[in-house]
Structures are given as structure tokens and as C-alpha cells.
């Protein structure tokens, strides 16, 4: 059995984990007609539960991490997100079939009918409250809240991890400096979420589940939520060990693991390796290539993409310049994380712009 675990540890690396999750995401969108069938979905559920039981039984390391009290909610989160993804996609698929046949969505059949809130809504709330309360009570009776030794600044645990819901941000710190990963990107996530209703001008798909009527809204949102948030939390919990080094999910966390740190700045790539003339002393001249790349990415790329891709041109006409500009800016910054990941994995790229003099590293 441990051969299987070793094989999984061997295959899973940050880059392969990311590729697998992107493939999974693509398959989820592409084959939504298939996996939303209740029979098929139940099979996926059993396979996943079986896999977790298998992991728990055969890997004491995985069991130790998975049963840490504060990691238990992660399973609730993963299965909650999984179930409700199924529920929303199931209803979207059913509605899309109906819409394709010229029928209104299922919700329309009962949306004109009004019911009395007492009792038709109040009893649902009442029952949900009771079930929620009972679940919380049982959870609290069965599992102690964690309490470690008293706080001391004298001993730093390794790894030191943020609370689980921030592990996606902590994972970003591998690829970007704290001013971006810890401050600018979170701020932009919040602003970007707030901007959604003002950017999405598609009048369809309001008040019912659908995919086909608004794929350009759903795919980026879910990519951000699933790939850049939920899977990174999972990775941060189970695959980041001492020194924030990457470990397979069943691999013991060796605090002495040696990782080659041979990351190179873009400036060094260009000035030293390609031009062979050494780094200029002036920081602006030294980082000129990085500034050009970033400038092109944020200023040159949007018009170029808009010109070349017909879909984007349509979008520009629909949204107007301001909305389209904001959308492009937010999308490019969202893409900046996976792009930097790939650059790191393929080229060992450390900083595109690296000016440690001013703490300005990108």
C-alpha cells in the first residue's frame, strides 16, 4: 500500500498539483452534463470518502495533520463547497436544457406564486436553526477546541501557519513579496468582488441557476474561488511543512529538508546571462527590463488582446471603455498569480522587478 502513497507523494509537486487542479476545473466545466447526474455524483462522493479513509488508515502523517482540531473544518469546507457546487451545477444544467427547448427555468414555475412567510418560510428557518444547532452541539461535544502550550515569543513553531482560511494568501507569499501577496492582492480581491455587479452587464441569469447564459461570469469567479482559494488552502494545510517547504501529503515533515534556492531575478537573466555585461549599478537601469515587462503586461497587453480576440472586442462594445478597462485590469492581476507560479517553476524566476533598496519587488 505504501507504494501507492509514495507514488502520490512523488507525483505531487506544486506545479503538478496546480496542473491537476486546473485540469479538474476544466473537466468540471466541460463535463457538467455528466457529473451532475445524481448517480455519477454519488460515485464521486464515495470515491473521495474512500480515498480519505484509505489515506487516514495507511498514513499516520496524513492522519495526524487531518485530525488536528483546527483542520477538521477544512473537510467541512471542502465537502460543503463540493456539495453545493454539485447542487448549483445540477440546477443550472437542468435549467439550461429547459432554456434550450424554449422553456423558462424551473424557478419561473413557482416564482409568480406568493406564499405566506408564516408558516412557509418561518418553518424552514426554524428547522434549519434546529439542525444547525444540533450539528454544532454534537461537533462541540465530540471535538475539543485546540489549546497548545502557553504563548511564548521564545519558541517559534515550524511551520508557523496563519488560520486555515488565510492559507491561500500565505501560499501567495511563496511567489510574491508581502506588499503584494499580503496587502495589494487581498485589497484587490475585495475591490474586485465588490466590482462584480457593476462590471457584469449581462441581464440574463438573474434569479435562477444557469451556466450557458453567463459562462464568462461563472468561469473566472469559480477559477478564483476554487483554484486560487480553496485548493491553495488545501495545499497550505496538507503540503506545506517546516520552512514552508513543499511535502507530499503522506511525506513526513523533515525539518532538515534541503531545498535548492537557485531563483534568479529577471535583471540577472538579461544583463548577465544574455547580454553578458554584468548588472548596472543604477537600479532603474538595472530593472529596466522588468519595468518594460510589467508595463507591457498592464498597459500594452489589454489593447493588443482586444484587437486580436474577437470575443473581447464584442465585450468592449457591450461594456464600454471604463468597465472593460477595470475588468481587464482585475483579470490580468488575477492571472498574475498563476503566471508568476509558472515562471518560477519553469525558469526559477525570483523577481521580475527586484529593487530591494525600496522593498519594491514584483
Amino acid at each position: 500500500m505504501h507504494y501507492i502513497l509514495d507514488a502520490i507523494d512523488f507525483v505531487l509537486q506544486p506545479w503538478s498539483y496546480f496542473i491537476f487542479s486546473v485540469i479538474g476545473f476544466w473537466a468540471m466545466i466541460k463535463y457538467r452534463e455528466k457529473w451532475t447526474e445524481p448517480d455519477f455524483a454519488v460515485k464521486i462522493l464515495w470515491v473521495s470518502i474512500g480515498f480519505i479513509i484509505f489515506s487516514m488508515v495507511y498514513s499516520t502523517h496524513f492522519r495526524d495533520i487531518a485530525t488536528l482540531p483546527d483542520n477538521v473544518p477544512i473537510f467541512l469546507m471542502v465537502y460543503g463547497v463540493g456539495f453545493f457546487t454539485w447542487l448549483s451545477f445540477r440546477q443550472a444544467v437542468v435549467n439550461d436544457r429547459r432554456i434550450a427547448q424554449g422553456q423558462p427555468p424551473v424557478e419561473k414555475e413557482t416564482s409568480d406564486k406568493k406564499v405566506y412567510v408564516w408558516p412557509d418560510l418561518v418553518y424552514i428557518e426554524f428547522i434549519a436553526t434546529i439542525i444547525g444547532g444540533v450539528v454544532l452541539l454534537i461537533w462541540s461535544l465530540c471535538l475539543h477546541a485546540p489549546l497548545e502550550e502557553a504563548a511564548t515569543p521564545a519558541w517559534t513553531p515550524n511551520p508557523s501557519k496563519a488560520p486555515w482560511y488565510f492559507l491561500g494568501l500565505q501560499e501567495m507569499l511563496v511567489y510574491y513579496d508581502p506588499w503584494l501577496a499580503g496587502v495589494v492582492f487581498p485589497t484587490l480581491i475585495i475591490i474586485g468582488l465588490m466590482a462584480i455587479p457593476y462590471i457584469d452587464k449581462n441581464p440574463k441569469g438573474s434569479g435562477y441557476y444557469t451556466f450557458n447564459e453567463r459562462p464568462f461570469a461563472i468561469v473566472p469567479f469559480l477559477f478564483g474561488f476554487f483554484i486560487l482559494w480553496v485548493t491553495l488552502i488545501f495545499l497550505g494545510t496538507f503540503m506545506r511543512g517546516p520552512g514552508w517547504n513543499f511535502f507530499g501529503p503522506y511525506e513526513n515533515w523533515d525539518p532538515h529538508k534541503v531545498v535548492v534556492l537557485n531563483n534568479v531575478n529577471l535583471s540577472e537573466y538579461v544583463w548577465v546571462r544574455i547580454l553578458g555585461i554584468g548588472l548596472p549599478t543604477n537600479w532603474f537601469l538595472r530593472e529596466i527590463w522588468g519595468f518594460l515587462v510589467i508595463g507591457f503586461y498592464l498597459i500594452g497587453l489589454p489593447p493588443l488582446l482586444t484587437k486580436k480576440v474577437p470575443v473581447l472586442q464584442e465585450l468592449l462594445e457591450k461594456l464600454g471603455v471604463v468597465r472593460y478597462g477595470v475588468l481587464m485590469f482585475l483579470m490580468l492581476l488575477m492571472a498574475a498569480l498563476p503566471i508568476k507560479m509558472v515562471l518560477r517553476w519553469v525558469f526559477n524566476l525570483k523577481y521580475i522587478v527586484g529593487i530591494p533598496e525600496f522593498f519594491f519587488n514584483i
Binding site: W118, D120, V122, H144, A162, F166, L173, G182, G207, I218
Partner: protein, 276 residues
């Protein structure tokens, strides 16, 4: 013997009112009528009155779209988030009876809470409820997105919802420090280290060195946003009292206020969304 007793009781209470009559009496008495100003809610009029004449229920409209009250549509996640918030408020107040936010007592008060308080699962309910609330809020947002419920006229309520999401995470994060154990201290250390790198406002952030008067730096380790957040250079007792006040007073008040706005706007923007 038993038959005799039964007979005696029957005789004694022969002219006592029936249970129905007692019920009738109570329901028409002054006390009952002063509390509930309507009859049993089984007629349309009384159902309307049940919602309208109750301060808590009147958050709701009198009638709602049938499609909008279904669990498959709403997942009940917004309601559960609110339920968990109430739960956390109640258990949080109970925890405040036992907890002193000082470096000297905080950890041992938590130990005492676990070891000495009979049936003490208040901290468990509070902690797991907090985790559950984070998840419930995410799922609520997920549902609202998937049903396109942020679309006009509900744009602004989505914005308030995003703020509430951030406040939920902040509530959970500030509460994370309070047990004052190693888990708490270092999670908060990791989580707040980033503040040092805030552009212009953290001393390790880009642009901070530009803010100076006559060569004197205004943003340094003892004056930046990281210092303001922690009340010191690192997580210490000053941080504990700051996070305690934020967690127990400031953030809950802001969140509760915005929740009121959020719920009110649901009504004003046309109730739970549905197809046009």
C-alpha cells in the same frame, strides 16, 4: 382502592373547565392578548399579523416568492450565517464572564474554562461556530453569485455583503489570538507580519522611505501600521487587549449594523431574487 381514588378525583373536578376551555381562557385573557395581538396564525389575516406584529419576524415580508423560499434555491446559508452570528454573540458573552485579556491570566482562564467549568463546551461552540460561520458566509456568497442575485437592483447589497465577508474573517482572525497559546500567538504573528510591507504605511513597504521631512523618516518600525495594529513591535500583551476589544466590541458592532442594512436592503431591493 385505585378505582376509589379515580372516582374521588372525578367527583372533585367534575365541574372543572376542560383543557380546551383553559386554552381558550388564556388565549383571550389580557396577558396573552397584550403579547400576541392576533389569533392563531391559520387564517390569511392572522398569518399576515403574525409577521407584522412581531419585531423579529417583521424582518420578513408578509409574502414571498415560492421559488425564493425553497432550500434548493437559497441553501439557507445567509440565514445560517446570521444564526451562527447570534450563537457566537451569546456564547461569546458567556466566555467573557471567565476570560481576562491579560498575558498573565488569558491562557490560564482558558485552561480553567476547559478543566473546571461543569459541562463547559462554550468555547467549543464558539470556536466551531466561528469556523462554521466563515464557511457559511462563503457558501452564501457562492449561492448569491450562482443565481446572479447581485444583478440590478441588488448591486449595492452585494457590496455590503463583501464587507460583511471581510468582517467575518476579521472577527475570526481577532478571536484567534485570545486563547493566548502558541497556536494563537504564531498564527497572528504570521497573519500580521504582512502589515509591515504595506506600501507607504509599513516600514518595510515600498514608498515608506519617501515619507520624510528633512531627512527624518516618519514611517519607521515604531510608527508604522504594523505597530499601530499590534501596539508594539511584535505580538504582545498590548496586542491581546487590542484584539480583545476589536473582537468583542468594535467589529461585532460594525458587523451587526451592516447586517441590519443588508437585511433591510434585501427587502427594499425586491426580496429574495427570482426570475423576472
Amino acid at each position: 382502592m385505585l378505582d376509589k381514588l379515580k372516582k374521588m378525583i372525578a367527583e372533585k373536578f367534575a365541574d372543572a373547565p376542560s383543557p380546551e376551555a383553559i386554552k381558550q381562557n388564556i388565549a383571550e385573557g389580557q396577558i396573552w392578548k397584550s403579547i400576541f395581538r392576533h389569533g392563531y396564525p391559520d387564517t390569511p389575516r392572522n398569518r399576515v399579523m403574525a409577521v407584522l406584529s412581531n419585531v423579529f419576524l417583521h424582518l420578513h415580508p408578509v409574502k414571498a416568492r415560492h421559488s425564493g423560499v425553497k432550500m434548493s434555491y437559497t441553501w439557507c446559508m445567509g440565514g445560517l450565517s446570521f444564526f451562527l452570528f447570534l450563537n457566537l454573540t451569546v456564547t461569546g458573552i458567556l466566555l467573557m464572564f471567565y476570560y481576562r485579556p491579560t498575558a498573565e491570566y488569558a491562557y490560564y482562564d482558558i485552561v480553567a474554562l476547559r478543566e473546571h467549568v461543569p459541562l463547559g463546551i462554550m468555547r467549543e461552540i464558539h470556536r466551531w461556530g466561528a469556523h462554521a460561520m466563515v464557511i457559511a458566509v462563503w457558501l452564501h456568497m457562492f449561492r448569491v453569485f450562482m443565481t446572479g442575485s447581485y444583478k440590478p437592483p441588488r448591486e449595492f447589497n452585494w457590496v455590503i455583503g463583501v464587507v460583511l465577508l471581510v468582517l467575518t474573517l476579521l472577527l475570526s482572525f481577532t478571536g484567534y489570538l485570545l486563547p493566548w497559546d502558541q497556536l494563537a500567538m504564531w498564527a497572528i504573528t504570521v497573519g500580521t507580519n504582512m502589515a509591515r510591507a504595506t506600501p507607504f504605511m509599513g516600514y518595510e513597504g515600498p514608498g515608506a522611505s519617501m515619507i520624510q521631512i528633512g531627512g527624518v523618516h516618519l514611517v519607521h518600525g515604531g510608527s508604522d501600521i504594523h505597530f499601530a495594529l499590534l501596539g508594539g513591535h511584535f505580538v504582545s500583551e498590548a496586542t491581546l487587549i487590542r484584539f480583545y476589544v476589536l473582537h468583542c466590541v468594535f467589529v461585532p458592532i460594525v458587523a451587526a449594523t451592516l447586517m441590519a442594512v443588508h437585511f433591510w436592503r434585501v427587502r427594499k431591493d425586491g426580496g429574495i431574487s427570482g426570475p423576472l
